[in-house]
Symmetry: C2
Subunit: 199 residues, 2 copies
């Protein structure tokens, strides 16, 4: 099986490098597409191609955009003086699904990590400081993961923005909505207790 | 977020309809691609497009091909007088990975199913009968699943090919290589016992 299988194998290889997919699931996906050329494969090619031609990082916040400035940064209603700092675009999307935050974002592009040798210069922290000044930001909300790297990054940002006089806050830690205490780790329960509020 | 998010959401929707992917994993995949436009997204578009333009079902056996006749059907070394009947192309690929079968295939395109209203006319059974005659086939090997539908289909094919005088066989049932008895269902153990061989 010369040519056909080579091309199909190459395609399976590309799919299997995507997050959450292994060789077996990639094979199943490719086979599904091959057997539905007009209903699934061609529309997928067109949708991917459209996005590949237009998608680019927002030069201001790092969100994915179809123009140099993303829809959120371009929306004057979102100039609330608040910037929410997130690790990556996935977290920005998660915040947007929450439909609570009405300000703008700043995507760091990762967290500080000694293990992965990610230092401050690898993240978009200088740009955050510039934005605090140029956009007249009053409050920076840290929406970073409750991990060692996330918290190290939070502390580094706290030090970096100190001289700007901006208000710095962070997402509350506590019991997730719908979460059962029984299934929570002790750290979460402790954090939820410390942040308890009048009822 | 007008245009950009609409296109990206449409793309996530297409990915989430692929087997094994839900909205969450589709979102992660799309985000991964968007953040790696040149290293991952563009090469994937090109590979998919190439396959979309060339892939077609083999008019003889139903395998996926880049020509009207697939590489296996076109290979004279595989004219062994044996046809292996499989449910779909995934099973053909699985047989080929086994590297034991040297004949040709016939892809049924499914199994008979009362529940899903799949009758004999929906499968490529008439074409199998034609091939038995025109290709001078001596043996038909049924490689169908050990499911109710798979076995119903096997029995239907057995009746259909009876008058051609072809030898009909089926894959052995038994303990999978590396399989522990403890984890096998009773049906498999029973089948393995009935098919026991001298040691
Ligand atoms: Zn932006
Ligand atoms: Zn063929």
């Amino acid at each position: 099986m010369a040519d056909a299988r080579d091309e199909i194998d190459a395609l399976i290889g590309q799919f299997s490098r995507l997050p959450g997919l292994g060789p077996r699931s990639a094979r199943r996906m490719v086979l599904h597409l091959l057997q539905r050329r007009d209903q699934a494969l061609r529309p997928l090619v067109m949708a991917l191609d459209r996005v590949a031609q237009t998608a680019q990082p927002c030069t201001r916040c790092g969100n994915i955009a179809t123009a140099p400035i993303c829809d959120i940064c371009a929306d004057p209603k979102r100039a609330t003086g608040e910037i929410c700092v997130v690790e990556d675009v996935a977290d920005l999307w998660a915040m947007e699904r929450g439909q609570v935050f009405t300000g703008r974002y700043h995507v760091l592009g990762g967290t500080l990590s000694a293990l992965d040798a990610v230092g401050p210069d690898d993240l978009h922290i200088p740009q955050l400081l510039e934005r605090i000044v140029s956009e007249g930001i009053r409050e920076v909300i840290l929406a970073l993961g409750a991990t060692v790297d996330g918290q190290t990054t939070a502390h580094y940002i706290a030090e970096s923005v100190e001289q700007t006089g901006v208000i710095l806050s962070a997402l509350a830690q506590g019991v997730p909505v719908g979460g059962e205490l029984d299934f929570l780790d002790d750290g979460t329960i402790g954090a939820a207790l410390r942040s308890r509020r009048a009822f």
